[in-house]
Subunit: 195 residues, 2 copies
Amino acid sequence: MSSGTRDRIVTEAMRLFGENGFAGTSIAQIEAAAGLTPGSGGLYRHFPSKEALLSTGIRERIESRNELLPSMSPSSDAPTEAVLLKVAQLGLQRLDDERDVNRILVRDLASAPELLGFIRDAEIRTNHQALVTLLRALGGPQLDAEALAAILIDAISHYWLLRDVFGGEHPLAVPQQRYLTTLVDMAAHLMGDKQ
Amino acid sequence: MSSGTRDRIVTEAMRLFGENGFAGTSIAQIEAAAGLTPGSGGLYRHFPSKEALLSTGIRERIESRNELLPSMSPSSDAPTEAVLLKVAQLGLQRLDDERDVNRILVRDLASAPELLGFIRDAEIRTNHQALVTLLRALGGPQLDAEALAAILIDAISHYWLLRDVFGGEHPLAVPQQRYLTTLVDMAAHLMGDKQ
DNA sequence: TCCATCAGTAAGTACTTACTTACGACGGTA
DNA sequence: TACCGTCGTAAGTAAGTACTTACTGATGGA
């Protein structure tokens, strides 16, 4: 079965791109990691170029993932703080699960407009819209849910990113629980006020 | 004078590292940009290696910069929201001014522990500590100023980073003014409550 | 049994990489 | 004039780059 090799190539390529960057990963490295002979162009039986491999890897990873907020409404009788804390923890989890895609996004895609557009529409705006809907259900009509949702996403994403870049610990050394609690507290205060 | 050439090398190297990444920039490119003959090893009259050049560039940029919050206390009679908004705008300005260093940090330093430590101590924690001091002066003693300062820094940094990666516009398309106003509003609400 | 297709390899393409060596032009000092 | 260290260049090194070409063995359908 050839699709086994193809999938191994994609998996190992995404891991290597995430660890060493796109320019820092060679075709030979990917071949070796996928069980092919490094330097033989075996990879090109499955992909026409290094760029095409990157594009395929990113699209497959993002398309094969489920909704971040599948059905948050059933537990909407819980207090706002508890709901938001759960969402924040889910977001951090998701960032961890797609570590490689997230690293590649900030490192290597600044000059790949098609991939940027795909990620923006298929992942970033989708998650944002789901959070906006949730915030509107919990807060009053005066609330700027779009801005608040963006702030929550950005704060959590950058907390994750810095922790990742600095090898496991956020450079400001604020524990995750204190960080998330304070963030959720801020949001709840704002929402309570615009009720 | 040779130090002219040396400084040109550092300047152009930091620009190219920021634009194309460390692995994506060649010694020949840097030499050409600095006015040397590309491919002649003229760069090596001034730096022993590509890594040493990167290290020197980052350290010089960070050491030669002034305080982000020089003396915010004099205008402490202004309302909290106005002070925080000014600080947020200053932060965005600083991120723009040191665009190259910021890009290099998230793209290429994950496996350069000494540089990470230097940036953390000389830049990130310094700014955080200054903001913590300001927040403590404005808010009550019950406030978790360290967590709040980290959240404000992270939100603003990620807003800047995504706007940079996506070529000028934040993928969530929230205008800067609305974003900052909402962020400052959240902080002020929390601080007012813990007064 | 024949035969076409597929997946992988060996070997090589032309080119780029970081870095080195030998040398000449230069300015200051003796 | 003789000398010295500095700065840049020409020309190279060995290794690595993405990708190609020609081939081999296995597979599966007619």
